[in-house]
Amino acid sequence: MLRFILSRFGQTLAVLFMASVIVFALMRLIPGDPVLMMLGDDFTQVAYERMKAQLGLDRPIVVQYVFWLRNVLQGDLGDSLLQHQRVSLLVWEAFQPTLVLVVASLIAGIVIAIPSGIVAAMRKDSAWDYGSMGFAILVYSMPSFWKGIILIWIFSVYFRWFPAMGYVAPWTDLGDSLWKLVLPAFTLGTFFSGLVARIVRSSLLEVLSADYIKAARAKGVRQAALVYRHALSNALIPVVTIIGLQFGALLGGAVLTETVFAIPGMGRLTVNAILNRDYAVVQGTILAGVLLVVVVNLLVDLTYAFLNPKIRMA
């Protein structure tokens, strides 16, 4: 177990290192000379050289990367050209609504997926099975930004049940926050539930044909007790894995979903930064996104190892 944890940590560091190199390289590909942008129109050759040295751009590229990485590791992502604020602060503030949305969607998705996966598996090849699996494919295939607009049309404009947009932090006003989160969380959560319901169904079917379930059935355990007491906990282990595999897609979906519901998160910050050529902010949000995905994957793998006795005991 300890060996597994250590090697998994090592892999995570290697991936983060590669990702940082990729982000650094991407930022170097931006057309235009940063020195010229800092100096404006009127300058001398001496001033140009001085500025270049000041920014460290006269050093070899590897040295530049090391300096850049040192700043990033200290949480110094530079300043936003547009908003005259620390990028780290802007990213931190925009990250919270996005994360709240992702967590709410995960919960919504699991709440929808597990019952529909169980029903589909227990009544395999029935109308229930086809219905819930058809629903799963449908909601999984609807792009989240379009699904959000359709839900606004139905539930905000037509029925007037839920607000169409806005965001309040759960720690400010929990009731209002949840109220405004219903539609966005349902939008993104159904994407996730589509995946999970299919996994729950197939892994439950697999577990139900295992020998220990057959033995329990032979001893006269009823079908419902069989599923809930014996099969379900094992069938849910792959769901943990799918959270890790799909977390990146979920984060990407959140960026699009929050745009639909006017939630002031990462999506809005990044897109505004791109339209205004505020590259330090773009770099900050991308680094934060990658860091989050990699860390969640590490946590998921560790959880999986803990749940799976084959790894836990090793």
């Binding site: 609807m142 792009p143 930004f145 990146g248 897609a249 990407g252 897109v271 791109i274 339209l275 990658v290």
Partner: protein, 301 residues
Amino acid sequence: MARQLDVECPPALETAPVVAPAGTGLRRWWRRFARNRGAVFGLVVLVLIVVASVFAPVLAPYDPLAQGVGPTLSGPSRAHWAGTDSFGRDMLSRIIFGARIALIVGVVSVVIAMIIGVSLGLAAGYYGGWLDAVVMRVMDGLFAFPIIILAIAMMAIMGFGVTNVIIAVAVGFIAPFARVTRADVLAVKEEPYIEAARLAGVSAPAIIARHVLPNVLAPIIVQAALRVSGAIITESGLSFLGLGPPPPTPVWGSMIAEGRNFIVMAPHVSTFPGIALMLAIVGLNLLGDGLRDTLDPRLRR
């Protein structure tokens, strides 16, 4: 001597893995595929998209860019089956032309990603060693980025336009192709016929091209089919955010975004391009699932 051996190599050994399943196998595969209802539905959708793209100028009732061909924001009518947008443009014509961009971006970006990813996977898997280590660590790094976020970053750097969308989406899909290919190459290169070819003196590039690649092709095709829908979703997402091909290009994503502003008065502006997009994605997903179930021998039940 080595060359001589190569020539004398019995043809069965050379081509067995490729030709044997192809003649009779293709028909058998088609019978399996045709029984999969979802896959056939997906194939029909794909054919529809291809037809709409190729014959867009003939099929579209109006010029997709012409403004004021009807009243603004009017709902579906006999003159405009899918209604009109805020510039009085015909929505149906724009949706039909939108299929072109979706198909081009979906297919071209996946083909580019496939060529680069498969080459990297073949080289890394076959040669191993430091090449494998370096290539696959870079792929791990790329894989950590959510596709849409990587694509957003690329668009920030390159600027907007169809070609840049294709490049941005392609970069995001290189890593999965490299991984799938490498994993299968590792298994195939231990096979006796590879050993035989190597002992017969066939050069490494020739072995890769003639013996390894054909035997790892099935999972690559499945991967490609499944990724086309992902590419179309990513392109639509970029366009929805306003980072795709610039207006007035008819793109499904930006049409949906435009409709959001008129959701109260004219819900059809978002609804119809969204239905087209959803049909395309459902169809391609089902087609990909069908190909996976019928092509990939490990998953065949």
